[in-house]
Amino acid sequence: MLSDFLVSVKKVSKEYAFGKQKVQALREVSLAVLGGEFLAIAGPSGSGKSTLLNLIGCIDTPTTGSISIENQETVNQTPDQLADLRARKIGFIFQTFNLLPVLSAFENVEYPLLRLKLDKTERHQRVSQYLELVGVNEFATHRPNQLSGGQRQRVAIARALIAQPSIVLADEPTANLDHRTGEGILDLMSRINRDNGTTFIFSTHDARVIEMAGRVVRLSDGEIVQ
């Protein structure tokens, strides 16, 4: 049956094995996210925030339970099918920015577009537009090591948005930034969410970040507590 939810997580558990020892990272977590939400997943370190984001982002697979993105089941899909799903529907923003060091800011943002059938002019126009949106157009030719932390994260946001995905997943996007820069990044994400209707799901344990979220889901010991 089709649902109105953009993301639907049903009774998802995730267990990791460390040698003979098994660690339960998530226990029967269920979550539904509507399109256009600005959702924070909060909780202390080790609570399972990143694991939940990884599962929603289809870069990890649940031990039990099911996840669907736009009513498309992600469990039992091949690695290539999941790669295509991520390329089309999911944008990632990482705590450590994860830009490719050998590419300029412009090229980093352009990279996800290379597999789409866009002509060069259209591609360049779109990259410039998104660099402008995140406020780093003047640094387009700079390599990541020539940018500050905040600038790098802005480039990473532009990269996450460039393929116009349904969801952007951000794993502690401000954790490696000073307070003021982090606030700027959150303002930017919030503005894009408001203006473009892009759904943001981000993990954080910072109370000030949590305050900015439209909805907060709290995790503790792998379970949703609120």
Binding site: N54, G57, I59, D60, P79, D80, A83, D84, L85, R86, A87, R88, I90, G91, F92, F94, Q95, T96, N98, L100, P101, V102, L103, Y111, P112, R115, R159, A163
Partner: protein, 405 residues
Amino acid sequence: MIVLALRNLFRHWKRTAIALAAIGFGVIALLLAGGFIDWIFWGMREGAIQSRLGHIQITRPGYFETGSADPFAYLLPDQLNEEEIIGLRPEIRVITPRLAFNGLISHGDVTIGFSGEGVDPEKEASVSQHLIITKGENLGPDDPTGLLLGAGLADNLGVTVGDSVVLLANTASGGLSGVEGPVRGLFQSASKAFDDAALRVPVDTARSLLRVSSAHSWVLLLDETEKTDEVLLYLQERFPVSESGLQFTPWYALADFYNKTVALLSRQMSVVQLIIALIIVLSISNTLVMSVLERTGETGTLMAIGVRRRRILHMFVTEGLLLGVIGGLGGVAVGGLLAMVISAVGIPMPPPPGMDVGFSGKILLSWPLIAGVMALAIGTTLLASLYPAWKASRLEIVNALRHNR
């Protein structure tokens, strides 16, 4: 992808430079060793062709197999229309008759056996360019009685230029015939065994000695050795053996020593190639494995943003291929330069087996050799990159992303 691969390669330029040097040195070693051996092959081939064999020999069928037992049964028609054959193909430069015969040669009290050839002095000069006249002069068109002796035969007989010798041979009817003539010159070929027994006389002298009017073989010299097969096929089709009673034999069917030497040295060269390929694989495997390991986080990021595993594999394989191409081209450039310098200076070589004189070696570079060496460089780097690239494409994304922290 190529731009990205190039940038990734040169982000650690020192490591890449070491890998390129390993490939480059391998390519240079292969070029110089291969070029030297190819030059030896070329020298042996042209030496054999232009001292004895010619490019194609026309004989009666079976002459080379059983002709020595009954030489008179294999005489060619009295007059082969040589002008017509020369005109058939522009590649044919010379056609010259040879009449083989055996007998005894005497000087004073010494009489020993010989293996002789009657040749046309004028035409034979261009076919036997590699026959070295060590003393005296070659046979001349105006000297019907002169003889050219192998240096070893002259030593055995105790004669030198200007001495007179007597040749005795059996005629076609079984009688004994003799001729006397002065020694005009001594020669040396690539085979000492040949020089110890061989002599040459003008073909008319040989004909009168044997009481025959024809020849055993007509030797064709072409303008290029590479055209042998083309001309051979043409002649075989134009003069089918069933109609003409003629057999056309290419030089390589007669060059047994050359063929065996080529087979032996080629096998040795294959072993050298294998060793160098292994050195290249081992040298650059380390570079490529390191590259995959230190870029684990980046690979995880690429996979997270939707890059398929196959593309990750292609990316690392492309880097390996580029290493091979750049290292190979660099090696070919430096190797080519070195080959030119070495060839200009020359490699002093001792006399080869069966010869008395040393020679100056060179490096013969050819496009097939360069292409083969490039293929080896690219093939080995491709091979070395496959496993690291496959490992990279099989990374678990979540684990790979942890490397960024």
